[in-house]
């Protein structure tokens, strides 16, 4: 049976934002979405249960293919990971406590690599929990938290983010 419109306007806007979270550039985000949609439309969709997550995966893979993987996914050493795994309860990234000037958001996103920007998007806009993101990305939650913790520290060091004093001691 020929397919009809799979992705409506609302869905396309959301997918565009996801692409924007990867590329940090509106023109590149549109190109990524357009190319990925074309790829998706030509697939045999009889085995695809959920079209939107599948298209997101195509976008992500396409983006990574076009980037140097080592730049996209900053490696974490085993030692670093072990250290963080042992102290997860102490380093839960309290991103909810962080504040930023709206004017600095663009600068913030430009300073992130694709993976960091994607994680922030999934957390802030699509409102996934870190558990859900870890399952979606098929990575250990500890790995994800380590990355977020390191990101938070870096951004605070660069004075892009402020943290409420009352919660800092928590």
């Amino acid at each position: 049976v020929p397919q009809e419109i799979l992705f409506n306007e609302k869905c396309l806007q959301q997918l565009f934002h996801y692409a924007l979270s990867l590329t940090s550039n509106e023109a590149q985000a549109y190109d990524l979405l357009h190319c990925s949609l074309e790829k998706y439309l030509h697939l045999d969709k009889s085995r695809i249960e959920h079209s939107e997550p599948y298209l997101k995966r195509i976008m992500r893979n396409s983006y990574i293919d076009n980037q140097r993987r080592k730049r996209f996914e900053e490696p974490i050493s085993d030692q670093d990971l072990e250290k963080h795994e042992n102290t997860i309860s102490l380093i839960q990234p309290s991103l909810e406590d962080l504040f930023i000037s709206q004017q600095q958001v663009s600068m913030l996103l430009q300073s992130l690599n694709g993976e960091e920007s994607e994680l922030l998007y999934l957390w802030a806009v699509e409102e996934y929990t870190f558990d859900e993101i870890a399952k979606m990305k098929e990575v250990a939650k500890g790995t994800l938290l380590s990355k977020m913790h390191r990101l938070k520290k870096r951004l605070q060091a660069e004075k892009m983010l402020a943290q409420t004093t009352s919660r800092e001691s928590r």
């Binding site: 397919q3 419109i5 806007q13 509106e26 949609l37 991103l95 930023i100 000037s101 709206q102 402020a162």
Partner: protein, 225 residues
């Protein structure tokens, strides 16, 4: 950072993305891309259905009628031969007439497609790029010798349906950029084998249509005259 200027990171990020929606032309292009693909799939489904033997009415009746007559009566062999000869004549005549009609039907389809003035699915001046993009076609697009002498610029291409089969529509413009031509390429139907290789010209609803065969394909060009 002024206190009044800051907001929670989550809220600021959400606002940042909300302020960057797809533009209307971008949204339209993405929706059209899906519609065109669905349209191409429908055309392909129709073509597949037409190609099925059970839908070929002429073949079905001819075979069953012939088989029945042959096995039912040896005593009517003379009559059988006469009837067979008559049937063969009728079939040949019908096929000849149907070829003529089908060529006209196809020219009407081409004129209709031309008048639709649908946007191209891929913008490119390279026939190879368009061929790569239109990957569902069962044939490779060709550079027609009939168009070699004309100074036409290729603008792009899209899927369309000709004679119930998946076909390509290529859009060209002349040197002045004022006149648009659409060229159609489709796998040549088998009942077109007997048609002359020379182009046939006809005018349909104000559209000049030329139809010809080349390299195993049926080609047509349409322009407003």
């Amino acid at each position: 950072m002024k206190p009044s200027d800051v907001k929670p990171l989550k809220e600021a990020l959400s606002e940042y993305y909300q302020q960057r929606p797809l533009s209307s032309p971008q949204l339209k292009a993405l929706l059209e891309l899906q519609e065109m693909h669905a349209s191409a799939q429908r055309a392909e489904a129709v073509a597949t259905a037409i190609d099925r033997p059970e839908n070929n009415r002429l073949g079905y009746h001819w075979q069953s009628g012939f088989k029945g007559m042959f096995f039912n009566s040896h005593r009517l062999s003379v009559l059988f031969s006469a009837v067979t000869a008559a049937l063969v004549s009728i079939v040949i005549l019908t096929l000849y007439l149907s070829n003529e009609l089908t060529a006209l039907d196809i020219m009407e389809e081409i004129a209709y497609n031309h008048n639709q003035n649908m946007a191209v699915e891929i913008r490119s001046s390279s026939i190879d790029d368009i061929d790569t993009f239109l990957s569902s076609l069962s044939f490779t697009l060709i550079k027609s010798n009939h168009l070699a002498g004309k100074s036409l610029t290729l603008l792009g291409g899209r899927y369309c349906a000709i004679d119930g089969k998946l076909a390509a529509q290529l859009k060209f413009e002349d040197g002045t950029g004022n006149k648009t031509y659409t060229v159609y390429q489709v796998a040549r139907p088998t009942h077109f084998d007997s048609i002359e290789q020379q182009p046939i010209t006809n005018y349909v609803n104000g559209v000049k249509v030329i139809l010809w065969q080349e390299n195993g394909l049926l080609l047509g060009i349409a322009s407003n005259e």
